[in-house]
Symmetry: C2
Subunit: 340 residues, 2 copies
């Protein structure tokens, strides 16, 4: 038995096969598939027809080899236990696909393979790397930068490393907008609930919030520390606060760093039968936020735009690293309003 005769019995249909079928040479086939190439309309027509009949689909490895561009983006992901991450992965990948890119998932969360994974991605000639909600160690950045000149983008997070591209939601602006919203409601005693203290995510958001309040001569009265981005943590933090603070002295409104925390907070109010006694605002606009049980007022990050911007930066590999902050959208539901 022979090994795959070129034309007929072999599984793979190559450009040469199409060429033969269409009565042209394989170079013409290649040109027929590239946008601005000089091919006569009728030649292209014939090629495309032949390709369709034979079910030809170009081998992207071969193409990548010559073009030095693969349309693959490495998605470096950490913290695989953060449920919020899933929605980020979701929008990122689907947006990438829509733009003709494919995502190679590099899971950094387990053990020490940080270097190995990135190196592997490099060997596959990825067009760029997107870091998704990763705690981006300097080691990691260094690693990625020295390997080859791969465009790096940190998405959704704010890295303070100045050598790296950042595409993220403008937290400062969001904080201000939310401050404005709460001031409209004429709250005076206003608080903030924070998750893990590490994230620089928090900083800009809280800064903007502070500055927004300050414009009206107000300040953040109380910062509640929830510890983690988990419903129970938000629940307990507010529960504890309510239990230890006299009603007259309580906060009138609370901006939570995160929808998860906000929902915990709403649950805590409900559990004490005090729903509506405190205006609550979250951040992210997760699915549950829209449920009528919560009707959580929150701030939606412009996920699609963020991804597209990241892709743009990979595609054109902007010269000097710069952070790009996009505004999100305030989603007004009911939870920020007084109802009693």
């Amino acid at each position: 038995m022979r090994k795959r005769s070129k034309t007929s019995n072999g599984q793979r249909v190559t450009a040469s096969d199409v060429a033969e079928r269409a009565g042209v040479s394989k170079w013409t086939v290649s040109r027929a598939f590239t946008e601005g190439a000089s091919v006569s309309p009728q030649a292209r027509e014939r090629v495309l027809a032949a390709a369709a009949e034979l079910g030809y689909r170009p081998n992207l490895l071969a193409r990548g080899l010559t073009k030095h561009r693969t349309q693959i983006v490495g998605l470096v992901v950490d913290e695989m236990d953060n449920p919020n991450l899933l929605s980020l992965i979701n929008t990122t990948t689907s947006q990438l696909q829509r733009q003709g890119y494919l995502a190679m998932l590099l899971n950094i969360s387990s053990e020490h393979d940080h270097g190995a994974a990135i190196s592997l991605a490099d060997q596959f000639q990825v067009d760029g790397l997107i870091f998704l909600g990763t705690v981006l160690t300097d080691e990691l950045v260094h690693l990625a930068q020295q390997i080859r000149h791969i465009p790096l983008v940190v998405l959704y997070r704010n890295s303070d490393n100045p050598n790296i591209q950042v595409v993220s939601t403008d937290g400062y602006r969001a904080g201000r907008e939310i401050a404005g919203l709460l001031l409209e409601q004429e709250y005076r005693r206003i608080g903030y609930m924070t998750g893990p203290v590490s994230g620089s995510t928090r900083l800009s958001r809280l800064d903007g919030f502070r500055d927004g309040l300050a414009e009206q001569g107000l300040a953040v009265d109380e910062v509640l520390e929830a510890g983690h981005y988990r419903r129970e943590c938000g629940f307990r933090a507010l529960e504890h606060y309510l239990a230890t603070t006299a009603p007259a002295e309580r906060l009138e409104a609370l901006f939570c760093e995160n929808d998860i925390l906000a929902i915990g907070a709403l649950d805590a109010l409900k559990a004490r039968g005090e729903s509506g006694s405190m205006g609550i605002v979250g951040f992210d606009d997760i699915k549950q936020a829209a449920s009528p049980a919560y009707a959580l007022t929150t701030y939606r990050q412009p996920l699609e735009s963020l991804v597209n911007e990241a892709i743009r930066r990979i595609r054109f590999d902007e010269a000097q690293p710069r952070r790009h902050l996009l505004p999100g959208e305030l989603i007004q539901r009911d939870s920020h309003r007084r109802t009693n």
Copy 2:
């Protein structure tokens, strides 16, 4: 300015560069990097040294082109809103990476690109496709099978399509084991809580459970329908049951299809101050299950083994499609025991 002189100034270090440095020919370099090739130890030594000095890393596109194997596995994912999926993606990708594979994430959840995504994966010559918790339409299977001969594996789910490889936890066996556990506790009135009725996942689990109980002459007394795999749904389902059933007639034990539901159920008991009045068993062993607040007895799926089996099937492309069911592990904590 010239375009990348081959050896020195060009970014990319190729096998030829290494060859020159090591004083051998590039073919020897290639052989030094393949496992069972015939190369003299000292030649390999020199090549490896030169490669290390130059920072050579083989171009995997080129390798894939000739070897017809890429070490890339397409991970077809749907239902991107199922939080359980994240942990599946996590273990799957990290296990793949550990085995030298890379995962290309194909997000099917949005719109109509089912075909496009799979076709794209094919063009990248993926070694196989793994369907992860996907509602696997026949159209999808057909599509994937006709394109090229790509090994397909459905992971974690039980497809009833006989033309397709399935690697999954043995739900029937799990059901029996759990039945056995509950019988050991001498419960008589035993129930089952189900999520969406569609999944064939459920069937085998419930079948095994039924058969296990039947061995002792018992049956499933009550099937509670929670609707979705969400905590609130489990909560409400049990809450409603408790509210409408006289204490004397209540179930003594309840096997929930899912830890999420089980946790909802535990919360419902707690909310009524009846914690410990009903033995609860879940399925999956999610993180929360281990928390002392729940101490949920559950059944852990052998995730690593499942992935490895899937990889094995992709690598060796088993001839006839067959389903492969692996046993999981019963995790006994406290929630299945009587405490009052």
